[in-house]
């Protein structure tokens, strides 16, 4: 059985090429994974996400990946969840009422208020709550209409503001879940990916 140093879960989401390119620039060869077995075997796993909450959850359940993912996360194995990949860690989303998320975080994602432009598209400043985390202060690129207002207590959160204060990222050991796109966040994002890699 071949080792998978870095598996990127193919959830049928849109911007896989950007995620793959970011790791290749780091000198890492990512491997696309499409089933629960490969998902369990990967040393490090990326859960990317561009799309819609309901569709991605349906896809994860069809692949049999939802349970394997929950198991990985509960066991503290290396994980990078991006954007919608971050949101599916919540219990549910206002984007798809009635569809259950993985429930790692207790929160339900909400839509940004009408007082700001939705979707949030652009670079927002991220403020971590701990100094020695993988996430450092800086600007990250966001592309989202929904947000989570709190992460689980066992995770260290970073915050940003867009009409409301929301969770920009949550981390715990070698597990990092970002609402923003590190793969699109220039040098700051590349440095973040490297710190995550080094922590795994």
């Amino acid at each position: 059985m071949t080792a998978i140093p870095l598996g990127v879960l193919d959830t049928g989401s849109a911007n896989l090429a950007s995620v793959l390119a970011a790791f290749r620039r780091m000198g890492v060869s990512p491997c696309l994974v499409r089933d629960a077995d490969a998902l369990r075997r990967a040393d490090r796993l990326v859960l990317p996400g561009v799309g819609a909450f309901g569709a991605v959850m349906a896809n994860l359940r069809t692949l049999g990946a939802a349970d394997a993912l929950t198991e990985r996360i509960t066991n503290g194995r290396p994980l990078l969840a991006i954007c919608l990949g971050f949101q599916v860690l919540g219990v549910a989303s206002a984007e798809a009422p009635g569809v259950a998320g993985l429930g790692i975080f207790g929160g339900v994602t909400q839509r940004y208020p009408a007082s700001v432009r939705v979707p949030q598209l652009g670079w927002n400043s991220v403020t971590p709550t701990r100094a020695d985390g993988v996430v450092q202060p800086g600007h990250a690129f966001f592309a989202n209409s929904y947000y989570l207002d709190a992460a689980d207590d066992a995770w260290s959160a970073s915050y940003a503001e867009h009409g409301v204060r929301f969770v920009a990222a949550a981390e715990r050991g070698s597990q990092l879940a970002c609402q923003f796109h590190p793969e699109l966040s220039g040098r700051w994002g590349a440095a973040l990916l490297q710190r995550w890699w080094d922590r795994c």
Binding site: V116, G122, A143
Partner: protein, 250 residues
């Protein structure tokens, strides 16, 4: 807080960056990958890549250029030109785009906007609108400015938002390449009528033009000639915006 984006635009045809005036008289402006890397290094917040002859010559977007740019680019890439259906969007996304910009095909078949938004999320779908002045109003023009639809721009922008678009890329055809400043009244009328982010395009010459566009309601400012011809760099532009009190990423 969210910062204002400064977006260089690469109009391409046959693998080269070109730039015209009012969509006509295209001249060579460089190699796409080199320009993309340079602009990211200077602090570009995003890059827009438009294949300007794909629709009028009835071919798809040049995917090799998208792939080559993706290899070097660590900021968002929006790709437009020749996106006729979901399959074309999938192809440019797989090649390395983060967002797709639709224009003529979405006008002809508005259901395309909804189909793309349902599959990839609204944040992935940029509705590109080319506007031509008509008295006190603006009309939507399509097919790279060769066909005036006589449809009101504001009406089409609102419809696009309702159908699921995630952003409006609003180009004043009258100002395109003229370096006479953005069309502020056009920007104001659209930005005040939609809840989506609006990208100002067409006519930028100086950072002051960008400051005026942001004051008129734009969330992002796009320029081509101004940067290609070396009037100013993106870094200088963003410094000027910050000095004027505009939130930017430096």
């Amino acid at each position: 807080m969210l910062t204002c984006r400064v977006i260089p635009c690469l109009d391409t045809t046959d693998g080269r960056v070109v730039k015209g005036v009012r969509f006509q008289h295209l001249r060579d402006a460089g190699a796409p990958v080199e320009l993309a890397a340079r602009y990211e290094g200077e602090g570009a917040d995003e890059l827009v890549l438009l294949d300007v002859t794909a629709t009028t010559s009835s071919r798809g977007h040049a995917l090799d250029t998208v792939r080559a740019i993706r290899r070097v680019l660590a900021i968002p890439l929006t790709v437009g030109g020749g996106i006729r259906g979901v399959a074309d969007a999938v192809a440019v996304l797989e090649a390395g785009a983060d967002k797709v910009a639709v224009n003529t095909a979405a006008y002809r078949d508005p259901a395309l906007i909804t189909a793309l938004a349902e599959r990839f999320g609204a944040q992935c779908v940029t509705l590109s609108i080319d506007a031509a002045a008509a008295g006190d109003d603006w009309m939507v023009v399509v097919r790279a400015g060769t066909e005036n639809t006589l449809r009101s721009v504001v009406d089409w922008a609102r419809t696009g938002e309702a159908l699921g678009a995630g952003e409006i890329l609003l180009t004043s055809m009258d100002r395109d390449g003229t370096r006479s400043g953005y069309h502020l009244a056009l920007l104001q009328s659209v930005a005040s009528q939609v809840g989506l982010p609006v990208v100002a395009s067409g006519g930028a010459r100086t950072p002051q033009d960008m400051i005026a566009a942001i004051a008129a309601g734009a969330d992002a400012v796009l320029a081509a000639s101004m940067f290609h011809d070396g009037d100013t760099t993106i870094a200088e532009t963003k410094q000027a915006l910050r000095s004027a009190g505009v939130a930017v990423r430096l």
